[in-house]
């Protein structure tokens, strides 16, 4: 009961934390590591994840600013603080949110060489680059920015809410090599995205009038699916949940991975995750704005019966039309790459495996991991070094040091413990910022419970 209370408290606090799955990668043979690399090795007969509690992760990350810069309680006004942040950020900065909840997961050993795992999780993944020009225009207007071209191309965002049903296989093809693959069926409940936009808005000194306002070569494509049905916004949360259970827009993807032992102590591993797409065909509402428009003011002819404003409105609609359509489209999942090198050393111990044989393992390991995710503007990278320690065959710990877009001194720690058949793991990240989480732009927490059977 106490544990349940603690878990509940964790869940409440979860949204203020984010994740770093580099700590989880290849850690302690946890079933959840198979979602990061289906080619990793496991040594149990079967596993069952505690429903809704086997794998929970959440991340809220930002580059360019932290929450405390805006919301700290001090004598500076919120307007000044936001202005300071707007001056600081650039169009490469972004805000990212990702949450995964493993609803169900399980696996079993098919034979000595093959482990099959499957499950269902729900994911929210969103990234929005900070369109500095748009923020500046909204916040300050155009008066102080004559001849500045405000870029529309900075507007890039993508939000996905989806359910993922998956089944994977890990197979030891030789003493040195284990290969794995996982097939995923995506059911998208909501997708909002825009990218590859172009165009500028400029106010300059005019010839015929004081100023000339130009919208040049605008090409703005806003795509949505799952947001509106029959011209009304979907506001019922139950509809979104149902759509994530194969009721939404469907897609498919694969994970691929391997583990290779160059020597008994030196191991290489790598994976490609979420190489897939969702084809959106239902509840689509897209907007396309293409064209150019110039406005110099209203030119009076006097004593005419012209309706200047109506003419202006008609010219705007003709030259810069907003076209709405329900065209189907394909949205690619953010594919991730993992690569790792691991060297094991120290005391050699043995543990019982699924086939009642003893398997040797070293109590210490260190190595490096490279993580990359494909995002709309550019690929993002994280480089991690780690040290892993097995205190016993039931208690392991891992400490990591990561350099990424958010931090150059991110220290994370993970613990995995097994008591009887129950496995608990917990991971905290960016420990150096624990004394002031609000000034950090990357802190993470992951935890879960599994039942592991040898």
């Amino acid at each position: 009961m106490r544990i349940l209370v603690l878990i509940f408290t964790f869940l409440i606090g979860l949204n203020s934390f984010s994740q770093n799955k580099q700590v989880l990668y290849d850690f302690a043979g946890l079933p959840q590591t198979l979602l990061l690399n289906p080619g990793l090795e496991t040594d149990y007969k079967f596993h069952i994840g505690v429903p809704l509690l086997s794998g929970i992760s959440s991340e809220i990350k930002s580059t360019g600013f932290s929450l405390s810069e805006i919301f700290a309680v001090n004598n500076n006004s919120i307007t000044n603080k936001i202005s300071a942040v707007l001056n600081k950020i650039d169009a490469d900065d972004y805000l990212k949110v990702n949450t995964q909840i493993e609803v169900f997961s399980a696996g079993f050993r098919f034979d000595k060489k093959t482990y099959i795992s499957f499950g269902f999780y729900q994911e929210l993944d969103a990234i929005g680059y900070l369109p500095k020009d748009a923020f500046t225009l909204i916040n300050e207007g155009n008066t102080s920015y004559l001849n500045k071209s405000f870029s529309i191309s900075e507007m890039i965002y993508k939000l996905d809410v989806l359910g993922v049903i998956h089944a994977g296989i890990s197979r030891k093809v030789s003493d040195e090599l284990t290969l794995g693959g996982r097939f995923k069926v995506y059911s998208s409940a909501l997708n909002l995205e825009t990218s590859n936009n172009s165009g500028t808005f400029t106010t300059g000194l005019g010839n015929n009038n004081m100023y000339i306002h130009q919208l040049d070569n605008v090409n703005l494509n806003l795509r949505t699916s799952g947001l509106r049905s029959n011209n009304e916004y979907i506001s019922d949360a139950r509809t979104y949940i149902e759509n994530s259970l194969l009721g939404g827009n469907l897609g498919a993807g694969i994970d691929l991975g391997f583990t290779y032992h160059a020597t008994p102590q030196l191991q290489f591993s790598g994976s490609l995750i979420d190489f897939g797409f969702v084809h959106h065909t239902k509840n689509i509402q897209n907007q396309l704005i293409v064209g150019s428009f110039t406005f110099e003011g209203i030119e009076f002819e006097f004593d005419s019966n012209r309706n200047y404003w109506q003419e202006l409105d008609a010219a705007l609609k003709e030259q810069l039309p907003i076209v709405e359509n329900q065209d189907s489209y394909t949205s690619w999942r953010p594919a991730k790459l993992n690569a790792a090198i691991k060297y094991s050393f120290g005391e050699k111990r043995s543990k019982y495996c699924f086939d009642n044989t003893l398997k040797d393992f070293y109590t210490n390991a260190f190595g490096a991991q490279l993580y990359s995710v494909f995002r709309p503007l550019r690929q993002q990278f994280a480089l991690t070094s780690f040290y892993e320690k097995s205190f016993s065959n039931k208690l392991q710990a891992k400490i990591t040091y990561t350099i990424d877009d958010y931090s150059y001194n991110n220290i994370g720690v993970g613990v995995s413990a097994k008591i009887w058949k129950i496995n608990f793991y917990g991971i905290l990240d960016n420990l150096t910022k624990l004394s002031d989480i609000s000034s950090s732009n990357n802190v993470s927490l992951q935890f879960g419970f599994n039942l592991l059977f040898n």
């Binding site: 207007g141 012209r306 608990f424 905290l428």
Partner: protein, 180 residues
């Protein structure tokens, strides 16, 4: 199970030992954006032809008049947050005659709600007359209903005919800055 409790408790302890300086998200309610939006306004070029209707030797047209919708203030955000309006005019008069200019702001029913200029004199042979009119919404709250603009330009001396063959022109440029 005891060990599991110990591990869990240790983990949670670390979790709760983490700190955060006080954050106040309600500050957002005090956040005000104060953009200053510059827009071109009305411009024109008129010549003697605009005043050349003559009936029995008497100039039948001594002033010209034009009205147009200008619906930027129909935008609810602008309307609710408008602090001041700043009109700017630049006028060139090549005629050797003086003209008078009225600029009226009208509401949707074409009622005059404010006279920006009333009988503003444009002297003859003037290459550039500049005029700026700053209107504070607090002083003229009816301005938020401004959706039409009317320009009236007429001869100051209506008794003397404007020579129809005169190639001179009056040119006017104007802009509007909306301070929110």
């Amino acid at each position: 199970m005891n060990l599991l409790k110990i591990y869990s408790t240790a983990f949670v302890t670390i979790f709760f030992l983490s700190c955060s300086q006080p954050l106040d998200f309600e500050q957002l309610e005090e956040y005000t954006i104060m953009p200053s939006i510059t827009s071109s306004f009305v411009f024109f070029s008129i010549d003697a032809a605009n005043f050349n209707s003559i009936i029995s030797g008497i100039p039948a047209v001594t002033e010209v008049n034009e009205t147009s919708d200008f619906k930027l203030l129909e935008n609810s955000f602008i309307k609710q947050n408008l602090v001041k309006l700043d009109f700017y005019f630049e006028i060139k008069n090549e005629f050797n005659r003086a003209f008078l200019l009225d600029v009226n702001l009208l509401d949707a029913q074409s009622n005059t709600i404010h006279k920006v200029f009333e009988g503003f004199e444009i002297s003859g042979n003037t290459l550039k007359i500049s005029a700026e009119v700053l209107l504070i919404i607090e002083d003229f709250p009816e301005l938020v209903n401004f959706t039409k603009v009317q320009f009236i330009i007429g001869l100051k001396d209506t008794a003397t005919i404007l020579d129809a063959s005169n190639l001179s022109k009056i040119e006017c440029k104007s802009s509007l800055v909306m301070h929110l």
